[in-house]
Symmetry: none
Subunit: 155 residues, 2 copies
DNA sequence: GAACTATTGATTATCCCTGACCTAGAAAAT
DNA sequence: ATTTTCTAGGTCAGGGATAATCAATAGTTC
């Protein structure tokens, strides 16, 4: 059985290329055309956006339906420390499971927010606090992550 | 029953070899395939990762499920092949108080073994765990410091 | 035999992809 | 101006393919 191509990944790469080639920090595209380009169903595009271009990954999506419809993908830019901290606080919210924390750290490293070593240190600390994951722990994890990332951002 | 094969150790060695053979500081593999290669159940791979490639061991794991699933093992290098590092490792091995840890962190930063941000991260984490500090917590503090410093030092 | 380590398999969770149905906005028809 | 129609994007459930988790069991070490 031949290995199916990894559509989601291919589309992700294509979008990332578009974003790099452009001067602004956003691109506009048409869902239908992109789906045709990759010979897939339009909703596949939504899946890619949801799973790879969410705020957690540093992007915002705007779109419009009907005639002249479009999808706009914007890179989130935080120039001040406060903006960064607010952004993190939004992402973390009230609570975070260990799994979610790991994903967040992965995304933050990919974006260059933190180094691999810093990610390692934070993950160790989070695991330490996590222990048996209950709702109570999720809040502790969130608090810990927020203070650790906060310190990093302001230094 | 007969002797166990000690699969876990074999798989560990295999992964370490892969990591050495490769230029990057990570490898990607498929859990299912690896399990087949060693004629074992897939969850055995998770056991190996949990027991030998945890963040405390200096590794980070990223994975995806479903089609095109994979497990990515990242080795976080802390290239510190100094002799003094070994000395410090001994100190940590003995266990240390909060104050000792802070002095140690200061020294490590002064010698360039950890960055200012890394030092802050460790201090924040420790302070977080210390929070409601009772005698019981002191042990947790010691464990955390040992984990965080240990991974930097012995790696 | 107690405590630690290793192995297994059943169950659960996640990822990717599709297609059926839903909704918003603009143009055409009235 | 209002209604209708058309066009393009959104949402959701579900199914196949992996990986993760967990508890039970077995082996090892001391």
């Amino acid at each position: 059985m031949d290995r199916m191509r990894n559509l989601a990944r291919d589309i992700e790469r294509y979008i990332l290329e578009l974003l790099e080639d452009v001067d602004e920090d956003f691109i506009s595209l048409r869902r239908k055309e992109l789906a045709e380009k990759f010979s897939c169903v339009p909703s596949q595009i939504n899946y890619v956006l949801r799973s790879r271009f969410s705020p957690e990954h540093g992007y915002l999506i705007e779109s419009r339906r009907g005639e002249h419809g479009y999808i706009k993908i914007l890179r989130i830019t935080c120039d001040s420390s406060d903006e960064k901290i607010n952004h993190i606080a939004d992402l973390v919210g009230e609570g975070l499971s260990l799994r979610e924390a790991q994903r967040l750290l992965e995304a933050l490293q990919a974006r260059g927010f933190i180094t691999a070593r810093e990610r390692l240190l934070i993950e160790i600390a989070v695991r330490h606090v996590a222990g048996d994951s209950t709702v109570v722990q999720n809040r502790k994890i969130a608090d810990l992550i927020k203070s650790m990332l906060g310190v990093i951002i302001t230094n």
